[in-house]
């Protein structure tokens, strides 16, 4: 039924009521038909009785005198009643009259038959005959049907009227108010101040409450929309502010995914690293720093926290190196926010300070402090890797004091710079050369293949420093070098102990006649 009238409550309700009323009517009609049929049978029986009473006197006479003509007269008279299906008059001696309509009774119970004994007109005690009357079953049926039809007609009329009345009531009391609300709601836009109107007469009932609730809902909704709109404006303003910051800030801000692909960046980013190519890849902007970058991304994603690193960028054009500080914060599992700062200036300052602290200003070699750091670092490496042999060479210049005294400090400084150059040429880049002050130099050899190698280097240095050193026009200085050598021992060995051993060996070399190298005895094990 919902499929029949999807849009009309009235139609649906009416059809439902009609269907129900028809059902009820059918039940009552059926009951009525049965009752009517029964009643009709009784009524017919009574009618037959009356007919019988009408003709009884004459029938008594006919039987008394056995007058067949009179009996026939009575019989035909009775047969003129259409309810009478048959008549039989019998006197005590012989049948006087018998007549049946053509349609024979189908079954005994379908027929009503009443009979009456006939007494003599002159003697009530003497029976002179009997009369039978038969009623037509078809006639009973037809009569009953007539009444049933009438009652069904009345019922149908009532059903129709009730259905119409209910439809009218439903339409006026329910559908029309609801349709009014529905139409109003349908046309309504979500603007503040709009309200549904309660239909007339529905203020106190469910419809009134419905309208009230809907109005409350609308008010709440418009309030929410207002709030939302205000928040949106605030958010837009805030976004504009952030965008302005994003555009104008000095720091490079960017978003990058786990593979290094850039999502977004600000102008400062492009100024620092250059405008990304298509597709924008952070690796391309950080040449030769792929490994540290990937490591940084991985660490940040794994920890879920901010990770930062300083990266040194070689300048492709051969200019000075550039330093940037990069920090990454994961936004989600695959995306990171990053900030880069150009820290080249700071780095240079830092390195200059570092240089100042650890370098000898005259020769550019490590000073005492820088050398101690280098030695400690080398020893630390050896502790982790016992196979790594480390040799310490302590070099003392011979006859330097004479050069200084004879030719002045200028010449002395020239000699010292020359010595420094010789020493740096004699060792690998991974080795460290330092000047302890005065004419005392030291070398740390890292990864000496065999002890003899340290001796060879020492000999090469001695040989090189035996050559005269030009100190001015036609002037040469003749110096030499005495070298003490020692190797790093076990865990208990120390920088101080190594320096002491090397110093002793160097002293021994001087005592032995200068310009030679001496190996210090191996330290006590343990």
């Amino acid at each position: 039924m919902r499929a029949l009238f999807p849009g009309s409550i009235v139609a649906r309700t009416t059809v439902a009521i009609i269907a129900l009323a028809l059902l009820v009517g059918l039940v009552f009609g059926s009951a009525a038909a049965v009752l009517i049929q029964r009643g009709e049978k009784e009524r017919l029986g009574a009618r037959l009785g009356e007919l019988l009473s009408t003709v009884e006197t004459t029938a008594r006479i006919a039987c008394f005198v056995q007058d067949t003509a009179l009996a026939r007269e009575i019989g035909t008279g009775l047969m003129n009643n259409h309810v009478v299906a048959g008549v039989r008059i019998v006197s005590d001696k012989a049948p006087l009259y018998e007549q049946r309509r053509s349609e024979a009774p189908k079954a005994a119970d379908e027929t009503i038959a009443i009979s009456r004994k006939l007494t003599s007109p002159f003697n009530e005690r003497e029976t002179v005959g009997e009369i039978w009357l038969y009623a037509s079953a078809a006639e009973i049926q037809a009569q009953a049907w007539t009444y049933t039809r009438f009652i069904l007609l009345v019922l149908a009329l009532e059903v129709a009227l009730v259905a119409a009345a209910v439809a009218w009531v439903v339409f006026n009391l329910i559908t029309r108010p609801i349709k009014g609300i529905s139409d109003e709601l349908h046309r309504m836009e979500t603007r503040t101040g709009l309200r549904l109107h309660v239909p007339q007469g529905n203020q106190q009932d469910e419809i009134g409450r419905l309208v009230g609730d809907v109005n409350a809902l609308i008010a709440e909704l418009t309030g929410l929309i207002d709030t939302e709109r205000r928040l949106r404006i605030e958010r837009e303003q805030s976004e504009r502010r952030l965008a302005l910051i994003f555009e104008k800030v000095d720091a490079g801000i960017f978003e990058v995914d786990a593979t290094g692909r850039l999502r977004s960046w600000n102008p400062a980013f492009a100024r620092t690293l250059g405008t990304p190519a298509q597709p924008p890849d952070l690796h391309a902007l950080l040449p030769q720093q792929e490994e540290p970058l990937n490591e940084l991304i991985r660490q940040s994603l794994d920890s879920g926290e901010l990770r930062e690193a300083d990266l040194q960028l070689k300048d492709a054009a051969g200019g000075p190196d550039k330093w940037i500080e990069i920090s990454l914060t994961p936004v989600d599992q695959d995306m990171l926010q990053g900030v880069i700062n150009d820290i080249t200036g700071r780095k240079r300052t830092e390195m200059a300070a570092q240089h100042l602290a650890t370098r000898d200003t005259l020769t550019g070699l490590l000073n005492r402090r820088g050398f101690d750091q280098a030695l400690s670092a080398a020893r630390a490496r050896r502790l982790r890797d016992p196979g790594l042999e480390i040799a310490l060479l302590l070099i003392d210049l011979d006859f330097f004091k004479q050069v200084n005294d004879r030719h002045g400090h200028e010449a002395g400084d020239t000699v010292l710079r020359r010595v420094a150059a010789v020493l740096e040429q004699a060792v690998r880049r991974t080795d460290h050369v330092g000047r302890f002050g005065g004419d005392e130099f030291a070398i740390v050899l890292i990864g000496v293949d065999e002890p003899a190698r340290a001796g060879q280097i020492a000999e090469a240095i001695i040989a090189a420093l035996r050559e005269p050193i030009p100190i001015g026009e036609d002037l040469q200085a003749q110096i030499g070098a005495s070298i003490g050598i020692t190797f790093a021992g076990g865990d208990s060995d120390s920088s101080a102990a190594m320096l002491r051993r090397a110093d002793e060996a160097m002293y021994a070399a001087k005592q032995a006649g200068r310009s030679q190298a001496r190996l210090a005895p191996a330290p006590e094990p343990g």
Partner: protein
């Protein structure tokens, strides 16, 4: 005592409601022809014959009932005695039977003497008359004054 009874009966009849005149002192009798072969007749037989049920006398010969007039005191008294009905009822009864044509009412004699004459001359005839009119030519088969009870 025997002579007192008819008088008493007459008094009783006179007291009955209806049109029976006080002059009717003589009781009625039913008479037949002596040759009819009928000696005695019961009241029921008389009813059957006079009301047209039987067409024959108990002896087997055809019955030929005779009424006296249509509104005569004799007729009135006879049917009152015989079936306790008034003349209009009797006439209504006959009206139905005459209509059918099968059964006829008794022949009507103008008076008692004629009736006696008819009975005397016809052996099928049967009639009711005043007892005083009875003579040797006819035979009394029912004496209401003696046998019949009101």
């Amino acid at each position: 005592m025997a002579s007192l009874l008819p008088h008493l009966l007459a008094v009783l009849v006179a007291l009955l409601p209806g049109t029976i005149g006080a002059a009717r002192a003589e009781p009625l009798v039913v008479i037949v022809n002596p040759a009819s072969g009928v000696e005695k007749l019961s009241r029921e037989e008389a009813v059957n014959i006079f009301m047209g049920r039987y067409r024959k006398l108990p002896s087997g010969i055809l019955a030929f009932p005779i009424d006296i007039g249509s509104q005569s005191p004799e007729r009135q008294q006879f049917y009152r005695l015989l079936v306790r009905k008034d003349l209009p009822e009797i006439d209504a009864y006959w009206a139905r039977l005459v209509f059918s044509g099968q059964t006829s009412p008794p022949l009507q004699a103008p008076d008692g003497a004629t009736a006696v004459q008819l009975v005397a001359s016809n052996r099928s005839a049967i009639a009711y008359v005043d007892r005083a009119l009875v003579d040797a030519r006819v035979k009394v088969v029912i004496d209401f004054g003696r046998a019949a009870k009101p």
